[in-house]
Symmetry: C2
Subunit: 280 residues, 2 copies
């Protein structure tokens, strides 16, 4: 453990931030830098083997703060819907096997030909009704992540913390809550009040950080800025979420082509440094 | 006038939709198709000459439904702010000369180094306080356009109809109102209530249409979809705005590289056809 270990005590590095690193490279680098936790993604974990991945991070002394991602609940086709629910049950089981209590949900956008966002949101709530019990049995919380409104059509019909919380509140807090990701909610003047409300009812299941930088890249998926490079007052957001009673990990999740093109360990070191300077 | 003239009675074509057409080509095509109105942009109008443009459209019997655009009010530098105000006074005068009562405002994003959206919004309100009287004297309404939250950092700190209306309501309705542009507000479940509120106080100064298509292009400026190509229920939005008491023009404003690459008259014909099929 380095001298930075204490300042980094809440830091978690989401695997996608340094997806150029293998899982053993990531765990090794986290141990060396004193980063105590990681957020994992299903695809690379499955490629490595769920049990092997669980053992790797456990042996490294790392916590797993979240598994990304379940969701995609909005299909109208019954077969497609059933497959999505089965896949989410598998994701819940994988989260439990990895020792994390949080499954992050990207809930799904409009099915082909549909223009009905409210109906899509209701199908998301219906799917959660089918899954919440299974999640509760496994000790896994389903965390609805509102995605930026620019993803409303094709990725997530839940665009604000208010909407996410409105769905989550239909279920017990230990089964369904929300993710606060600065990249998605920073622009929303109503989000601070929703953070306070979510905190008061114990439904902030994860805090994720990324900065907002422009111009956005084509497809708007892989332009999330390194902490401090953009328009978001990240420290203010961390303080706001803490003030709502949140004491959990602070996960940095960057999807960024230019970061992925660099040496992963160097990006990890930079990210830990930015976290100390911009977030603490 | 063609047989389509009556169905097209509220249609206005924003000049940017077919920016490959010169102003004389645009007016000629609109006359031939029975499109009774256009929305104009300052730069091409200035290049043609404001008085000459005014005469051209007047002689063609076309109404000018709006001038785009004023705004960019968020500078903190005093000299830059003064230049922006001067430029907006000129825009108001140009709108009056063109015979339109509506100047569309893109209010401005964060100045370099700032992370304070609420402060930027207050500077927008301050600038309007400086301009509203001049606009009123010229018979021009300042129309705050909330831009999609993906533009909050670099183009417009006003991201929702609620925010736009909250600022507009500080001024007389005949001086400051809002633009409802489907591309910017379609995702917002609170927008319908804001439309009703804006209509009730006579502050819907313009209705603009564009469809939402994905994937978004790099920079996210020029990917607005042709009517009917995307995720927005355009007819429902038109009906919603009408139900709020709006009886004005319905302006189609598409920024779309693939439409600009085609024959402009063909695009104009297609747009009028889509309007009849998707909006009426």
């Amino acid at each position: 453990m380095t001298a930075l270990a204490k300042p980094l005590s809440r830091l978690s590095i989401n695997q996608m931030t340094v997806k150029q690193l293998t899982l053993p490279e990531l765990t090794e680098a986290c141990m060396r830098l004193g980063v105590p936790a990681v957020g994992l993604w299903r695809e690379p974990v499955q490629a490595y083997g769920v049990e092997a991945a669980a053992k790797l991070v456990r042996d490294a002394g790392l916590a797993v703060t979240s598994l990304c991602r379940g969701g995609f609940f909005t299909a109208t086709d019954p077969g497609e819907r059933a497959r999505a629910l089965d896949d989410n049950r598998a994701a819940i089981d994988e989260a439990a096997a990895l020792g994390t209590d949080t499954l992050v949900l990207v809930s799904g956008g409009l099915p082909p030909g549909s223009r009905d966002l409210p109906a899509a949101r209701e199908r998301i709530a219906d799917a959660l009704a089918d899954l919440a019990g299974h999640a509760g049995e496994r000790g896994v919380r389903l965390a609805i992540e509102p995605l930026h409104p620019m993803y409303a059509a094709d990725r997530c019909a839940v665009s604000t913390l208010d909407q996410a919380l409105g769905i989550a509140e239909r279920f017990p807090a230990e089964q369904v809550g929300v993710v606060v990701d600065t990249y998605h909610v920073w622009w929303d003047e109503r989000a601070p009040e929703a953070v306070a409300r979510a905190g008061a009812c114990g439904r902030i299941h994860a805090l994720q950080l990324a900065d907002w930088v422009t111009p956005l890249p084509a497809g708007v998926l892989n332009g999330r800025g390194q902490l401090g490079d953009g328009a978001i007052d990240l420290r203010a957001w961390r303080q706001r979420v803490d003030a709502a009673g949140y004491t959990g990990p602070v996960e940095v999740e960057l999807f960024n082509e230019s970061l992925w093109a660099r040496d992963g360990v160097e990006v990890l070191e930079e990210t830990a440094d930015r976290y100390v300077r911009q977030v603490l």
